[in-house]
């Protein structure tokens, strides 16, 4: 496989009132096309910052983000983000929220009926077509997140960026959405980067798990390949030896070698 996304020696520091705080140091990572990569670490380790850097929402202090060998330093629809708190516009219906993205990205290349079909196809993909005329306030948290995923997918991104997409959901809803994301990933083969703090989620969904050391000046501590065949089923995996070994490796990294400093006190 060829290198699709390359994070090339990235440093990130924030300056506030003359004080420089280094958040990320020397991040090096390459991601192949179609790969599903999770980034896991304790809170405050800068994993969300890293995602924002890839999305272009914040600028790198040094180094570069290269997508297909071209540097990207500003946001764009080819790196669509699913935000933790869905970020749907409350004055638009589900359909209109996705239409905003679709008419902006495909306004010139697709006709009106093609755009409509495309919106409905993406709503079907997340099983939300029945709620197309509802406003975000009228649907549940899990449904909002589904629509958020549909909006991101509808931009036909080269890379799908998920920023703790299931963090605010209850366990059952979360499991449903994880299955939905796995299903979508297997059908579309979309290159995906997901931020998470949930070890099971990371092992279940990912091809590789990127483990971050604690901040300040966090960096990539270890990268673990998850050699589990797809499609994966959570019930079967719960006793699978490879699954348990991967899970143990991540837990050891997080809780033995890089314990959360605040929690250790």
């Amino acid at each position: 496989m060829t290198t699709y996304l390359k994070l090339d020696h990235i440093d990130k520091s924030f300056t506030r009132g003359g004080q420089v705080s280094e958040v990320l140091r020397d991040i090096r990572l390459t991601i192949d096309k179609g790969e599903f990569v999770s980034i896991i670490g304790h809170s405050g380790c800068g994993k969300s910052t890293l995602l924002n850097l890839i999305a272009g929402l914040t600028k790198v202090s040094a180094g570069a983000v290269l997508l297909e060998d071209k540097e990207v330093d500003s946001p764009g629809p080819e790196r669509a983000v699913v935000f933790q708190n869905h970020s749907l516009l409350p004055w638009l219906t589900v359909y209109e929220n996705i239409n905003l993205a679709v008419s902006k990205v495909f306004g010139r290349t697709k006709s009106r009926t093609e755009r409509h079909d495309w919106i409905m196809r993406n709503l079907d993909l997340v099983q939300m077509a029945h709620a197309r005329d509802k406003r975000p306030a009228e649907i549940s948290g899990g449904m909002k997140q589904r629509v958020g995923i549909a909006r991101a997918l509808a931009m036909e991104p080269k890379i799908l960026l998920l920023d703790e997409p299931f963090g605010a959901l209850d366990a059952l809803t979360r499991a449903h959405l994880q299955d939905a994301v796995m299903d979508i990933h297997s059908r579309l083969g979309s290159t995906t980067i997901m931020i998470t703090h949930d070890v099971d989620e990371a092992v279940l969904l990912s091809d590789r798990i990127v483990m971050m050391t604690n901040g300040p000046a966090a960096t990539i501590g270890e990268v673990l390949a998850v050699p589990l065949a797809r499609p994966r089923r959570r019930v079967e995996l719960s006793s699978d030896r490879t699954f348990l070994r991967c899970r143990e490796a991540v837990l050891k990294f997080l809780y033995e070698r890089h314990r959360f400093v605040e929690a250790a006190e």
Binding site: A55, G56, L57, S74, P75, G76, P77, R79, A80, V81, F83, N85, S87, L89, P90, W91, L100, A101, K104, V105, R135, P136, A137, M155
Partner: protein
């Protein structure tokens, strides 16, 4: 309207317009057709209390002004002497002898132009100040000083600039009503959640698309609070401005009636002004409630 009042309303964002008590239908059948008894009850509960209060006020007024030495006319005298004005709002007997409804309409036309301009310019300036930290640092102090200038203080200057009474009156409306629009819009724009901005950046919305599709709907509750204060202020200002500039507006009518000692006419005109101002306020509030439906919900 004091500074405090403007800021209070800003903080409260958009107070939900007081809805008349909604009748909850128990069955789908009852919901579909109008029940005359329920509607009559609703009307009565809304109308009877104010009617009683007004009647009591009229009685007190009648008693207080009935003595021969009273300086103000009692309601009966107002009714008798200003009957033409009350009964025929739309008469037209030549250039200076027209019904009060015509005069109110002429004043409203001035308000419409002045306030319309203030709404457009105010939202644009407010968006600029809310969006750009440097525009805010530069413009906000100027706005804060200018908005405390009383409306009529602008009149001599605008008379000198426009050399005509009608555009001067319109300018006074404009300059009076623009400040709350600017300030509330700026607050609304500053309060747009960062997530909405990120969405627009990822979609690469241009400035105009961001303004129309994100900024205006997101700040709409604040904008309409500003517009509502603004329309109230312009109605306050137009009457004062017309008293000084002359012409055919309702303000000049009051001044004219005073000069010819027609006190009953003034009282009728006050009632017209009050009712019109009330309607304007409700109109903007209703427009706001219509436009912002669904936006305030999280």
């Amino acid at each position: 309207m004091s500074i405090q009042a403007i800021e209070d309303t800003t903080v409260k964002a958009f107070p939900a317009p007081a809805k008349p008590a909604e009748v909850i239908a128990f069955t789908a059948k009852a919901r579909r057709r109008f029940d005359p008894i329920v509607i009559a009850g609703k009307l009565a509960s809304a109308l009877v209390p104010p009617v009683i209060v007004i009647a009591l006020m009229l009685v007190v007024w009648q008693i207080a002004c009935s003595s021969p030495t009273a300086s103000l006319p009692p309601p009966t005298q107002v009714w008798n002497e200003a009957y033409d004005l009350i009964a025929h709002p739309f008469f037209d007997n030549g250039p200076q002898d027209i019904g009060l409804a015509w005069r109110v309409l002429i004043s409203l036309q001035r308000v419409a132009i002045g306030f319309g301009l203030a709404a457009v310019v105010g939202v644009a300036l407010g968006a600029l100040v809310g969006q750009s930290i440097w525009a805010m640092r530069g413009l906000d102090p100027v706005f804060q000083i200018l908005r405390t200038v009383p409306p009529l203080a602008w009149l001599p200057l605008s008379l000198a600039a426009f050399r005509d009474s009608s555009p001067s009156a319109i300018f006074v409306i404009f300059i009076t009503s623009i400040w709350p629009v600017i300030i509330n819009t700026a607050v609304g724009v500053r309060n747009i959640p960062e997530d909405y901005r990120n969405v627009s950046r990822i979609l690469r919305l241009n400035q105009f698309e961001f303004f129309m599709k994100i900024m205006v709907p997101a700040a709409a509750p604040y904008i309409f609070t500003g517009l509502r204060i603004g329309i109230g202020l312009s109605w306050l200002a137009i009457v004062a401005a017309e008293m000084l500039t002359g012409g055919v507006g309702i303000g000049f009518f009051i001044w004219d009636a005073w000069n010819s000692s027609r006190l009953p006419d003034i009282i009728v005109a006050l009632a017209y002004i009050g009712v019109t101002g009330f309607c304007l306020d409700r109109l903007v509030a209703a427009a706001g409630a219509f436009v912002t439906r669904g936006t305030t919900a999280k």
